[in-house]
């Protein structure tokens, strides 16, 4: 395919684009990345990474209070949230520069600019420095990511009506915060803000928080949050927003039961976070002209190797329907696509496996308690009347959890009674987002519960709860 300047162009340098580009270079493809902002995308710059920095400081701040039990008096009068925020920016910038370095080191060409049009084997870029450039390539990978979804009437001003981006950029804390949407993003900011002393109300249309997660884990999180003073309004929706006159005047939210058409109460707040989903960035790329028509919600449909309807055009990450809008999904898809293209162009004889199995994609919510899981959740299995068994082991049965005062949590394994196949799992509590991977590796490698409990686990660790849950599946948990 030497008639093209590049073998592959990644449009977007987020966790999809940059990982795919590096993998493509490893496979010897001539690779270009086009990025209109900073390398690393939403994840590194205005997503996962800075929010984890805030969550860490929020947790530490909270723990300071817990030390008072031991006679440690902490003077918080000089607490300055702007410095917390700045630390999160430092982390993000450092990692973004790290991505720049990795791209350079691997020989990925980088164009700073905005893609104006994706054509047949062609990408037109308005460069950041004002020039224009059109490059051609055998393959083009749409990895343009997503942005916070706008709800009519609640348009972001990023001062008081905030998206997750605005929340991350905010340098002063509001006194009161209303959060629309109790998914992972809403819950993480609820945790951060509540930890720093903000009065938080979370409004959720569904009848529970963390609707994508295991209902027991969601209930555990709700109860933990409520103990800390976070107020939840589930089965409620926001009808309208009154922004008031001056900067200082409070915002007025009109709320009502989700199934009604009239608001029934008003909520006064100083700021609102609208976290009700993310909108794929698929407009303005000219995709329709090459036959790639976004579906409802702006998503692209993709085939077994994430190929779109246009020859040589692939789509990965948040723009793709089906695998979940998660950074690690984008990266995993990116590797598949890079390997597929290398295979088709004869750079490798190894054809990659086909698209991800949603079963093997972990979810992770980083508030405290953490919630992580994979596979169909128990509620889904029940609703679909699929045969399964659940084995749960509470953290309080694990010595380490008691020793460190982290007994609120559990490991739940969903398994097939006959074959002992691990169908799915949820871990809630301290370090759940790390603990889940033992079970995920087991499930994706097709180990059965017996393989998990037959593995000697170090004592004392929280991982012992994983082993005990596996033992519970065999009806032989020791510490329960």
């Amino acid at each position: 395919m030497s008639e093209y300047e590049f073998d592959v162009v990644f449009v977007g340098a987020g966790p999809g684009g940059y990982v795919g580009a590096i993998r493509a270079r490893q496979l010897g493809l001539r690779t270009l990345v086009v990025e209109k902002e900073k390398a690393g995308g939403v994840c590194l710059n205005i997503g996962c990474i800075p929010s984890k920095a805030l969550i860490d400081r929020a947790a530490k701040y909270r723990q300071l209070g817990e030390m008072e039990e031991f006679g440690v008096a902490v003077d918080r009068t000089r607490f300055d949230y702007s410095r917390v925020q700045k630390a999160s920016r430092t982390a993000a910038d450092r990692l973004s520069k790290g991505v720049d370095f990795l791209l350079r080191k691997n020989g990925v060409e980088f164009l700073a600019g905005t893609v104006q049009r994706i054509g047949s084997h062609e990408v037109a870029v308005a460069l950041t420095d004002g020039d224009e450039r059109t490059v051609n390539a055998a393959c083009i990978v749409v990895a343009t990511g997503s942005r916070p979804r706008v709800v009519p009437g609640f348009e972001f001003d990023e001062k008081r009506v905030l998206s997750s981006t605005g929340m991350l950029m905010m340098t002063t804390l509001p006194k009161r915060l209303a959060i629309l949407g109790a998914g992972a993003i809403g819950m993480e900011f609820a945790f951060i803000m509540n930890s720093f002393g903000v009065e938080v109300v979370v409004v959720e249309m569904l009848d529970r928080i963390l609707p994508m997660e295991d209902s027991d884990a969601a209930a555990l999180a709700r109860s933990a949050f409520e103990k800390r003073g976070v107020r939840f309004m589930t089965s409620m929706k926001a009808f309208s927003l009154e922004r008031g006159k001056g900067e200082e005047s409070p915002l007025l939210l009109a709320l009502g039961k989700a199934e009604t058409s009239e608001p029934s109460e008003r909520l006064e707040t100083d700021a609102i976070l609208v976290s009700v989903g993310r909108q794929p960035n698929t407009e303005g790329l000219g995709l329709e002209s090459i036959g790639v028509v976004p579906e409802r919600g702006g998503f692209l449909s993709a085939g077994p190797w994430y190929e779109t309807d246009a020859a040589g055009v692939y789509a990965i990450g948040d723009v793709v329907r089906g695998d979940g809008q998660l950074a690690h999904v984008a990266s995993a898809q990116a590797e598949i696509v890079a390997e597929r293209i290398a295979f088709l162009l004869g750079k490798t004889s190894e054809n990659p496996r086909q698209r991800l199995d949603p079963m093997e994609v972990p979810s992770a919510v980083y508030c405290e308690p953490q919630v992580a899981g994979f596979g169909p959740r128990e509620d889904t299995l029940k609703a679909e009347a699929r045969g399964y068994k659940a084995a749960t082991f509470p953290f309080r049965g694990a010595g380490k959890a008691v020793a460190i005062g982290e007994t609120e949590g559990f490991v739940k394994i969903l398994y097939d009674e006959k074959t002992r196949e691990i169908i799915g799992a949820t871990v809630a509590g301290k370090d759940a987002t790390e603990l889940v991977h033992e079970l995920l590796l087991a499930a994706s490698s097709e180990l059965v519960v017996d393989d998990v409990f037959s593995t000697v686990h170090a004592h004392p660790t929280l991982s012992e709860a994983v082993k005990e849950a596996a033992l519970a599946a065999a009806g032989r948990a020791i510490h329960m």
């Binding site: 162009l345 086909q354 180990l447 059965v448």
Partner: protein, 466 residues
Amino acid sequence: MAENIPMLALSSTMTDGTITAWKVAEGDVVKRGTVLCEVETDKAVMDYESPSAGILLKILTAAGSSAKVGDSIAVIGKAGEDASALPAALQSAAPQASAPAVVAAPAAVSAPAVVAAPAAVSAPAAVSVAVSVSALAPEAALPAAQAVSRRQDTSPAAAVNPAGFPRSSPLARALARDAGVDLRALRGSGPLGRVVKRDVEAVISGTAERQAASAGSSGGAAAPRTVRGREGGLVDKIVAASRTRMVVAKRLSDSMREAPHFFLRSAVEMDRLMALRASINAGRDEADRLSLNVFFVKLTASAIVRNPTINAAWKGDSIEFKRSVDIALAVALEDGLVAPVVRDCASKGLADIEREFRTLIAKAKEGRLQSSDYEGATFTISNLGAWGVEEFTAIINPPGSAILALGAVAREPVVRKDAGGAEAVAIRSMLRATLSCDHRVIDGAVGAAFMRDLKGLLEEPALALV
């Protein structure tokens, strides 16, 4: 220690095989690669070569009996070992899905060890050259033997698997155990060729038909670059060759490489034969009318009877003269070619030959040809006249030593003597026939004599009665 020799899956769809004959007897010394027996599958009869060396201690599946894939068919061990001392379970017909410790056979089998007879044929090469399974079934669920040996080539971890039991996930083993699926007959699609749940489920659901071509497997180094519609235009389109195509490709290459071809061309005046055919067909129902090809077959058989060397085959250090004139006719199908054979054409009448070809062609179009329908042609005819081809040369279809390539019959000016003996230009129906000969068997004069006789018979078919 004595080893059980399992029935292997010799084709992708094979679930059991019938042992048509044992080539060794109990007590015989066998080497690796010694043909133990012939196995008839749903596709063809194949030789089963020994994966191990030793003494054939016991035959567990008698000739004429069938065994499921994975069942033990024999025991090989050292002299003096007692096969009956093997655990009883090993001698039963039970699938051995979970008996890695005692089944050592597959690891020792090298890729080409299992030799298969052709699975299908196409013209102009209906050949019965044995073809290794690797050529036959690149995308098939290969016999465990091959899957294992391939891993041994590439996997650093092969040493942990000395018994040759396929790498498999615990879940796949559990499922296989419950369903009686023999893991050794599977090619794993998981990391490093590991047999995983979907591989076992594919067998259980009968959909083991090769997903390998489209399903990328990390172990599938040999997977073809098949391009789906959505990725079209990205690269040249590459489509996995069917097994039939692989067989044909190998045979034609072998034939062209091994048989020194030479070509003899004649122009044949067809007017009398066309008239004869018209008069024969005039009295027949449309459904019973004789095709031109059947006249070619019959008259070719007559010419062969007069030139028996044409009906001979090169055997390496001897020449085999066949008594029966078994003529294959190349037939184009939607997805390839076949060359079904009518036996003993010399002693059959036109109507019989026509009827037999019609039956064979109908079977071919339904994909129901048996190997006996296309193997062992002593001579092949390929007629591309219907495509308007004037003349062409064909590649010999072993074990035959010659193939006749026929072009279109066309009205042409020719020079003929008129009744008064003066030369004049006349218009005749002309056919160009080209004979490809294997010079190892057929010398130029021998081939030319055949062509002279054939031309004479075609131009004056009544001579066939003489």
